[in-house]
Subunit: 406 residues, 2 copies
Amino acid sequence: MPPFDVPEGDPFGPHNLPYGVFSPAGSTERTVGVRLGDHVLDAGAAARALGSPYASLLARPSLNPLLAAGRTTWSDVRRALTAWVTVPAHQEAVGAFLHPLASVTLHLPFEVADYVDFYASENHARNVGQMFRPDAADSLTPNWKHLPIGYHGRSGTVVVSGTDVVRPSGQRKAPADPAPVFGPSVRLDIEAEVGFVVGVPSERGRPVALGDFREHVFGLCLLNDWSARDIQAWEYVPLGPFLGKSFATSVSAWITPLDALEDARVAPPDRTHPLLPYLDDAQDEPGGYDLRISVAINGSVVSEPPFSTMYWTAAQQLAHMTVNGASLRTGDLYGSGTVSGPEPWQRGSLLELSWNGRDPLELPEGKRTFLQDGDVVTLSAWAPGPGGTRVGLGEVSGRITASAVV
Amino acid sequence: MPPFDVPEGDPFGPHNLPYGVFSPAGSTERTVGVRLGDHVLDAGAAARALGSPYASLLARPSLNPLLAAGRTTWSDVRRALTAWVTVPAHQEAVGAFLHPLASVTLHLPFEVADYVDFYASENHARNVGQMFRPDAADSLTPNWKHLPIGYHGRSGTVVVSGTDVVRPSGQRKAPADPAPVFGPSVRLDIEAEVGFVVGVPSERGRPVALGDFREHVFGLCLLNDWSARDIQAWEYVPLGPFLGKSFATSVSAWITPLDALEDARVAPPDRTHPLLPYLDDAQDEPGGYDLRISVAINGSVVSEPPFSTMYWTAAQQLAHMTVNGASLRTGDLYGSGTVSGPEPWQRGSLLELSWNGRDPLELPEGKRTFLQDGDVVTLSAWAPGPGGTRVGLGEVSGRITASAVV
């Protein structure tokens, strides 16, 4: 079957066209690729062959130039790509630049500037609150319904799907221990999240309004915020998570442009508390996205977190992140926070799925509370597309390897 | 007086030679400069004129190539520069590339990769603990003496000395308020810190040992971690500071190489708790630095924090930051945390100096608890140098401007 004839119902059909960076077989050169079914289009080469003005944005080793180009250009490039892969007259010229997906090497698709992680699922925050503050009157902290809680993570350890994750070592201390002990984490976890990629920068001192979200954010990806719960528990008071998170954060190799997700937009859950004006989206277009996530360990699906249940939207997170005048840069990445739905089988972390280790998961290869060396965790997702199609998100996968420190 | 004849006792004499990035008068081109007294040497131009092999590291718009070059090259370049500005035979050739400091524009000297901030002064941590947890049995959290507490900050808003700082707006909520309110911060503060600049990267999964500090860290600078205490207090539980800090962090325009600070090395305070092996520096060379910091508001010195009192050293911070396998990149910056000595006049924040607003400072222009619009805060410092000299650190200064959001 020729590459253009993507099977009907393929979630990576011409209605999707996510962007990545790849090297063809036998080459180490990086260039922008667009996924079409089980092929990758060398977008820069195709642009050059067709005399497109976008070659200068696409024949590049990272998505950053395209990210910086702005919303009008994003739409124009997407329209051009759609034509190249759907108009029969172009297919012969473009066909020469299609590579089988299995033959290429996929890279981190953009240079990560700042990385911020949020905490926007009410179900997740309540689950964590119940586990760690069982005596509190409310499982949410007092600020939770007033602002999207977030913090900065380590951008230098954001890695692309497929990269092994070395089990981190560090200090941990159980309440009964007289002093902390050192060693490989024994409570290594995942967090199933969605990551948003900033394209257009903003000026320091100038907040980005809720309504300007689409002017700045180019697209989204799946994100696994690996977490060492034992390290995190001992270190995080009073300044937040640090080494419990900073060893690795995995993102998918494909960035789905927001333009591909128009049919997935949904209203977020009803707000239970009045919001300050800079966060109040009651009059805005729907700010949520209906993304159906699957979490698999060694191929067994253990959870299906629904992104539509997130209390805070990506637009609210962007408005909050900049309301103090913090500027944005091309390549800023922010995670939604762990996606957990209301049902037990919709939880986005092993901490919640095993209820802090009390209820092990039954996998074909044995019981799991937290991750064992050799485990492979894969997040995948799809969203409703035009005309009943599905828009696939690139998967994010990572295998745990033994700690380098003994 | 010719530029080479730096007055005896000048803290920026040829024993110092800090690095920065500047544009000469009338130019927007950036290049590496080395400070000599009240002049700046265009180091790349001098290197070229003298046929030095280091021209390729110095005729650059940022310090990053020099930072990445490694410890042997750092020493070699410093030796070469010392010769150029002290050996009479070179002075005529080199003299043509000296610019009066007052005539040049100074830039952020390196591209900041990740920015981490620590919390390493016991006096500061105890002062904050007493103010905010007055009923706690210990003013330190249980982890404080076991690990250097740190968290990631926003690298995209690190700015060079002289850059105005816009007063941030945000949410705040006093305990008695029924709901949060929005507006310009009314508790805008400073944190007097020292920043360490990473030159040589490390591999993901491979911790950097205590003894390898000097292989990775190039030098240090003064750092002002501007802090909006009201925003911070409302947002920081449970994931740490975010918008209370992310609007701006100022660093000095000059990076002092560690090689210039050999005579300033001192042992850190006695450790009161046993340390895990990866942090135990009892058998190592002295890990502290005797830096005498001054904090001035509108020209009036309000505090003199002694860096020698810091409990955790920069080498311990680096070992901790990487013990989980987190990698380093060229341009990583980490702050020491607020430097506060044991005496009231040695405190490095207005929060402490005014004891949470209870005891206003008396300045010639009026009382201050926190900063007012128009206030200029300047941190300066010196360290003991060879033969009784002083090694000056570049000052870090910033003026508060009115909030952009009303």
